[in-house]
């Protein structure tokens, strides 16, 4: 299957970026160096092309009900301009994807939402919404607009002031998770004070054809998916398909450490299963780990207890550019989940000492 290409593939290539396949998209992984890009975002500001993220638009008299029934959080709490993090779960409460749900201004006086599934998950989420809408007889229109929008994330302690400089609406007054329209270099876009780095900043949804105009109007360090990964691991943020995967590593939101997105007061697919999990507690959960011995934890490495018995698996890992330490996430039985617990990670056949850490690993906004 040919890879999807973001609108600025050619521009990034001219810059000299390196590319990688991610979720079916050919995306820039590194513009200069992961370390430089990472530092720019932690200490100043950087911009990411995240046009691989999906965009599903939902509007109509029953849009709120449909969104509420298919995501775990309480969509009814969202006023126009609000957004929230949520999980999409199946009947068993297994996380199929995580997403941000944005309440847009009403369209033709009907409640209207945009949600952003992960790369490669736009088609099946779109189908899921359409099927359930029909099954439940709800009145709503569901559009997959992934190919209509580029998405850029401007992130870092200086991101908000830079965003305010280039955009025409008063962006710096927006609250975290607040979104609304703005204009950048004459291009109307949606700007939300969200991100995936642990830093402050904005994510811009930009019409596909105007992507270059907006990208070029923002003068700061371009950053690839490599830095996005090291930043989100430090910030304790999950990556779909890696830290949870309905096929290879099925997890409930409680196991994945995102129980805060589950609103049991609402009716949604997976609610009853999750109510039981909430009552009974989980057997395993996601923890932060740091290697004490030299080495780097990576996805799929075994985690053992002190006796060498395999008790879990590393789901994400890297050498943290900010801390200079090898860090990651792993699922372990709850009796090993207490911060400070000594574990071992098997790196190429060698058992390396590790310790359970609280996540996030750094201070986040």
């Amino acid at each position: 299957m040919p890879l999807e290409t973001p609108p600025l593939r050619g521009l990034h290539d001219e810059y000299g970026a390196k590319f990688t396949e991610f979720g079916g998209w050919d995306m820039p992984v590194e513009f200069d160096s992961i370390r430089e890009e990472h530092e720019a975002v932690r200490e100043g500001v950087g911009i990411f092309d995240v046009s691989h993220m999906g965009q599903i638009h939902v509007t109509g008299p029953d849009a709120t009900t449909l969104m509420n029934r298919l995501t775990t959080n309480d969509v009814g709490r969202l006023e126009v301009g609000d957004s929230q993090y949520a999980a999409i779960t199946d009947e068993e409460g297994i996380v199929l994807d995580d997403t941000i749900v944005y309440r847009l201004p009403d369209h033709q006086e009907q409640p209207t939402y945009l949600f952003v599934p992960n790369a490669g998950n736009d088609e099946w989420t779109h189908e899921r919404w359409v099927e359930h809408k029909n099954e439940w007889g709800l009145e709503a229109t569901v559009d997959n607009r992934t190919d209509e929008y580029a998405m850029f994330a401007l992130q870092g302690p200086e991101a908000v002031s830079l965003a305010a400089d280039v955009a025409e609406a008063g962006l710096s007054d927006r609250r975290r998770f607040e979104s609304g329209h703005t204009t950048v270099a004459g291009v109307e876009c949606l700007a939300a004070r969200t991100g995936y780095t642990g830093e402050d900043g904005f994510e811009f949804l930009v019409p596909w054809d105007a992507a270059e105009t907006v990208w070029s109007a923002v003068d700061c360090q371009p950053c690839g998916l490599g830095a996005r990964d090291t930043l989100r691991i430090e910030a304790g943020l999950l990556l779909a398909g890696q830290d949870f995967d309905p096929e290879d590593d099925p997890r409930t939101p409680y196991e994945a450490g995102i129980g805060f997105v589950v609103s049991l007061e609402t009716e949604f697919v997976g609610r009853d299963a999750l109510e039981r999990v909430d009552a009974e507690g989980v057997e395993e959960r996601l923890v932060g780990i740091q290697l004490i011995d030299r080495g780097v934890p990576r996805h799929g490495y075994d985690v053992t207890n002190a006796d060498g018995r395999v008790i879990g698996t590393v789901t994400s890992g890297t050498m943290s550019p900010t801390l200079g330490k090898p860090i990651g996430f792993a699922y372990v039985p709850v009796e090993y989940a207490e911060p400070g617990t000594t574990l071992r990670v098997v790196v190429r056949g060698q058992s390396k000492k590790a310790r359970v850490e609280t996540i996030p690993f750094i201070e986040t906004v």
Binding site: S33, G295, R348
Partner: protein, 127 residues
């Protein structure tokens, strides 16, 4: 982008270089290889006194985004390792042909080097 390929040494297809010194063969990775890997954060190689086998993996170099095996250009005994890389693995990026060297081998057979790629042959491979 063009990469430096010094002519004073030989190369493996897997991007290691081998520089003959008076009595040893010094080993590292090429400028092209470090650029492909990106920021190097960890290097693992054998201790002095251990044996390595030509064209077999002797260690690992890890960047933030990738793990890559290191292949020995010749068979022999490891007589020196670059301990500086434990605390400063970024030397592999900053100076791949110099301070970023990895190990020195006392070769079993000095002529083994001749079977490796010349600078010209290696350069043709990475263009």
């Amino acid at each position: 982008m063009s990469f430096d390929v010094p002519e004073d040494r030989r190369y493996l297809e897997s991007h290691e270089w081998a520089l003959e010194t008076e009595s040893t063969v010094r080993v590292g990775i090429s400028e092209f290889a470090q650029d492909e890997l990106g920021d190097v954060v960890f290097v693992e190689f054998p201790e002095v006194g251990q044996g390595v086998t030509g064209e077999e993996a002797f260690g690992v170099v890890e960047s933030i985004k990738a793990v890559s095996d290191l292949y020995a250009p010749v068979s022999g005994e490891v007589v020196a390792v670059n301990d500086d890389l434990h605390d400063a693995p970024e030397l592999v990026n900053d100076d791949p042909f110099g301070d970023g060297w990895m190990i020195e081998i006392d070769p079993d057979d000095g002529s083994e080097l001749e079977g490796l790629l010349s600078a010209e042959e290696y350069e043709a491979q990475i263009v």
